[in-house]
Subunit: 548 residues, 2 copies
């Protein structure tokens, strides 16, 4: 591995940790817990891991000797900055308890457990990856650990390696599955503890117990850096509207956080669009109105932030897509025979009136994409829609209409951007480096305390790291029952943007000002060596949420 | 202006300057100069500013008193990181010579001079913009200063404001025009000096006298940061090929520098494509071969860097576009009558055999773009071609063919990116902050020495700033005669990537290794406060060029 100068300098960074983790700890148990909803159903499904108490780790002056232990670790799902530091934290934690403890990494995600694909993570390997981005130390994967056969197959290799505890680093689904696995291993007396760690740049794995998922901080800062740069360009050239789509499967936390950091002229929040039952037309009108108002002030430039999941939050678009998927699934052969140039009119003639009108209003490229790019099951692939282009094009069309009507005088030229892969593997910010390392270290304490079915938890993270609180939360506590593929399943509630939460309310109070005046903020790149107010500030979202 | 924490901290940075500029200086003149070519023609066009000596500034212990002077400054053309520091350097330089000197900024580019649109740049304003990115202090514009009427109109406001010297910050064209203006004002005895400053992120304004243009360093570092992040994602997920297009109108300096910084699997260099007379098909084959070889090793992922200007460097594509522009210009009405679905076949039937075949090989979207998106003169707009998608799609098609033939076994999925606006207005790196400030300060010394028709020059910039050499180069020295719009014009030679230069040769020697092994480098974000090897390193291009 050829290393950059920054990577070499950054390797020496010693993550900051909660004061309690600086020496021996004892687990202090709180009250017994309940799941957030559907208590009876969840309890029935998790007889061995339901209702356990929240745990907090506190300093102790009488450390217990701990036998050497072998542990395993898995990275599950999409990359997020700081994954390597979680692993380093687990490693250092285990070694501090007993220098003969060993750590194994399962390769390319949960599939590595099932396929018995693993490597031992020695000090040399760990040191190579401290404070780096990416998941390349052991790779990640999207295999879902759901079936008994997988659990049993996994247990074979765990037994073979004498692994007594497994840490699964993942999002809401992976942590749900970690808990199912914990329950199963406990039920059969397998002697393997399972601990989860909250990861996802999307920021949608958080609740009363978990302040934030790791990676959200770094990813948002990278996106805000480039958004800020684009805004400065926008404000210097004064001739383009930049439509910027931001990753984040469904929740709009990333777009909202970036808006709070950079103060764009428009930021669309999917959750608000859904709550207000807005149509695509409404969204277009809203953006076009800001463009027109700015143009009236002589400002023919601006920025629009768009959450990746937007289309799926527009109720009318959801209905169109559902009908389209259904129709095409049942008329595949007929559709194939239609001449390319006639396909659009064919679809328009077949859909119900409401959906037909929406389809007819879509730009040609998007309309075509909706009928052509379908997944193996024939479903329309919403994620492939270039929402940033869709909006830019439709806003342009709307403005051209208004110009004819004399309602708009100005020039409109658009540039489009999509940021996602740029932020998922950035080297972690100080916040994520510290938070991840602490999460990993805490996971080792949960292992030492014999816990299973817990998620590693580090709280109070807007305070200096010294005052952070390390502990564990029973995963069942975050669960409720939801329909998945037609079946009721116990799952961790996904956290969408709350319209009555402090981050959204702060944004909502300021957005009109940001729309008309040009008050862009340029956060600049993540800094690792500067003054603390530059290097250590957590996200605006977290600061606002914890200040409440 | 709401300021980010980084912006506030960075405002205090004091740019490093050449030792000579730390006190009073004297101008030391070298030998008289010649233009790089076409000496007789250039000399005839610049009777008053041709052949002047190169100037170097050295420390002096006997400073001369300098009367207060009013100067003007113009930002011309595309944004580049560090423009504000050039202005700050001019300001501080003028004030150090006489505290009653004043600086005026012409607004939104050269048009501000012609339209008498200006503002005085006071200490408060300057301080607000120190070490920031963007050109928003006074804005920039693309008006070309070429006509006598513009010069005369400009002179009116210069006289009115008693401005004795004008600094034009721009690329090769703007500096050429600065020299024409200098010659004109000298010829008519206007009493206004004109000084140029070398700006462009493209890196194509450089020669024996000018080491680099400002902004290239910062822009390449921003692009390399995000390319590195994408590469780490690529290497973690191991399932995508990322096709990344990089800004840079014609020269491939940016793509090459980013390749040297990040070590991608493929980097296309337009100048090589042209020199080898490669066809689009050749380029596709070359990329597809790397994909196939990596797939044979089990690596179905990788990165490809693509310079923005590529298509115009493929001789066969240039011929196609020329014929297409010409044909459509003469058959506009006929073409409009063709049904949309028949347009492609119509074009194929009308072009000469060679061009017809190439056109037929293009993906539908690109083929359509070539006929639809034309400029007001009817010309095909090459800059709108999404080259990154074009290559990704055509490589995919090629691989599918090879798969059928049994020549390729693997999976190919592509993601595309285009980076440009992300880097043009980033806050300048230490290198650009220092270089720009020094260029501006040197410009003030050129003014004080009574020079006109000079470009501010700071050399030896791979050494510590203390050892940098400040001076001025007669702009005519960089000129030759070139055909522009059918007429022979004196212009500064544009610097393309030299295939026998050290940067390209270094890349060429390493690229096979980078293609097959995965040896990505992750440079990370620009750092402003860390160790010098992290914060102060100039571009690889400059290091290799100056090491020769």
């Amino acid at each position: 591995m050829t290393k950059s100068a920054l990577q070499i300098a950054r390797a020496a960074y010693q993550p900051k940790v909660p004061a309690a983790l600086k020496g021996a700890v004892k687990a202090v148990e709180g009250a017994y817990t309940q799941s957030v909803a559907d208590q009876d159903e969840v309890k029935k499904l998790f007889p061995n891991t339901y209702g356990m108490p929240v745990v907090t780790f506190e300093k102790t002056s009488s450390p217990k000797a701990m036998p050497a232990i072998n542990a395993g670790v898995i990275l599950s799902g999409g990359q997020a900055p700081g994954g390597h530091n979680v692993i380093a934290g687990i490693f250092d934690g285990l070694k501090s308890l007993n220098k003969d403890s060993r750590l194994f990494g399962f390769i390319l995600g949960p599939g590595g457990l099932v396929d018995h694909n693993y490597m031992e993570l020695t000090a040399d390997i760990i040191d190579e990856y401290r404070n780096t981005g990416g998941f390349d130390m052991i790779g990640s994967g999207r295999t879902k650990l759901e079936a008994k056969e997988q659990f049993d197959k996994g247990l074979e290799i765990l037994k073979e390696l004498d692994i007594k505890a497994l840490v699964i680093i993942g999002g809401d689904d992976s942590n749900t599955n970690a808990c199912v696995l914990a329950e199963y291993y406990k039920a059969i007396g397998a002697g393997v503890q399972v601990i989860g760690c909250p990861k996802t740049i999307d920021g949608d794995l958080k609740n009363e117990q978990i302040e934030t998922s790791f990676g959200f901080d770094t990813a948002c800062k990278v996106y805000s850096e480039v958004i800020g740069n684009i805004q400065r360009d926008c404000n210097s050239a004064r001739k383009y509207w930049h439509f910027i789509k931001l990753m984040g499967r469904s929740a709009s936390h990333i777009a909202l956080e970036c808006a709070l950091q950079t103060q764009p002229n428009v930021c669309i929040v999917s959750e608000e669009v859904e709550a207000k039952n807005m149509s695509l037309d409404d969204v277009i009108t809203q953006v076009a109105e800001v463009v027109a108002k700015r143009a009236a002030n002589g400002d023919n430039f601006g920025t629009v932030l768009i959450p990746e999941g937007l289309v799926e939050f527009i109720p009318a678009m959801k209905r169109l897509i559902a009908e389209l998927s259904d129709f095409l699934a049942h008329h595949e052969d007929e559709f194939k025979l239609i001449k390319r140039s006639e396909q659009r009119n064919y679809i328009i003639s077949k859909l119900t009136k409401e959906n037909s009108e929406i389809y007819a209003s879509l730009p040609e490229g998007v309309a075509r994409q909706l009928t052509l790019d379908r997944d193996p099951h024939g479903n329309v692939q919403v994620s492939l829609i270039e929402t940033e282009k869709l909006l830019a094009e439709m806003v342009g069309t709307r403005l051209a209409e208004w110009k004819k009507e004399g309602k708009y005088v100005g020039k409109f030229a658009a540039q489009v951007h999509f940021f996602g892969y740029e932020g998922r593997c950035a080297a972690p910010s100080n916040y994520d480096a510290d938070y991840c390392y602490s999460l990993g270290y805490t996971a080792s304490c949960l292992i030492a305390s014999g816990k299973t079915g817990y998620m590693s938890s580090v709280r109070n993270t807007t305070a200096p790291a010294d005052q952070w609180i390390a502990g564990g939360v029973p995963i069942t506590m975050m669960m409720n029952m939801e329909k998945r593929h037609g079946e009721m399943k116990p799952v961790i509630q996904k956290a969408l943007v709350k319209l009555d939460g402090a981050p959204f309310k702060t944004f909502a109070a300021k957005r009109e000002g940001w729309a008309l005046t040009t008050d862009y903020v340029y956060p600049g790149p993540i800094q690792y060596f500067g003054p603390t107010e530059v290097c250590d500030e957590p996200t605006k979202t977290l600061q606002l949420e914890l200040a409440k």
